[in-house]
Symmetry: C2
Subunit: 102 residues, 2 copies
DNA sequence: GGTACTCGTAAGTGACAACTTACCGTTCGT
DNA sequence: ACGAACGGTAAGTTGTCACTTACGAGTACC
């Protein structure tokens, strides 16, 4: 699931679909890669339930699947317990090196 | 940020640190890779503020950095607006092919 | 029915990233 | 001060994955 959104192009496609459902050619037009590459990305996104398909004539309309987003939210919520919030304050106290990057 | 958690080994390290701060050797003992590899993973996790370091004698204690988790939650919350929830109901109506996987 | 779209899949290539071993600096204990 | 433990970095190798071109299948329009 997280692996699916690791790729930048795939994130771009996903965020584009978040703005509204689109066909494959429309997506390919908005992204600097070939149309088959878009299809491959959509397959990955579909496998993890981040997008869904709805056939419409000869075209296939892709849209965001709430299930994937819900799963992602659930995962990160596991690390956002009150326990962690308390730890955040404690971490701020002991200063775990805010050397920021590098 | 999402790229950092894309790797399974890195997720294992991160989830291990979520249980409590640990030193590098402790982490390496709990994961089937060499200690230098752990260091490299920790560097990546630190760059995106998913973990933080606190020197303690000759050892370096790593722990979860709330900033990274907060950023991840913020990202997925962008796709979990009421707008999307409404879209979820609409999607359930038009049935975007619940063919599930493959 | 033929033509023009749509889109998915197959096969092949190139780049990146996750791992290894080897090495060096730093800090604690004696 | 010396030895040992800890851990970060360098260099090199290998597998994986994102992309391309080529092809085939399905649907709509005339």
């Amino acid at each position: 699931m997280l692996e699916a959104l690791a790729d930048g192009t795939r994130r771009a496609i996903f965020e584009l679909l978040a703005e509204g459902p689109r066909s494959v050619v429309d997506i390919a037009a908005a992204v600097p890669i070939s149309r088959p590459a878009v299809s491959q990305h959509l397959r990955v996104l579909k496998q993890v339930h981040l997008v869904g398909v709805r056939p419409e004539g000869t075209r296939r309309i892709y849209s965001v699947d709430p299930r994937g987003v819900a799963a992602a939210r659930a995962y990160f919520d596991r690390f956002w317990t009150d326990n962690l919030a308390a730890f955040a304050r404690e971490a701020e106290r002991t200063r775990p090196q805010r050397e920021d990057d590098r």
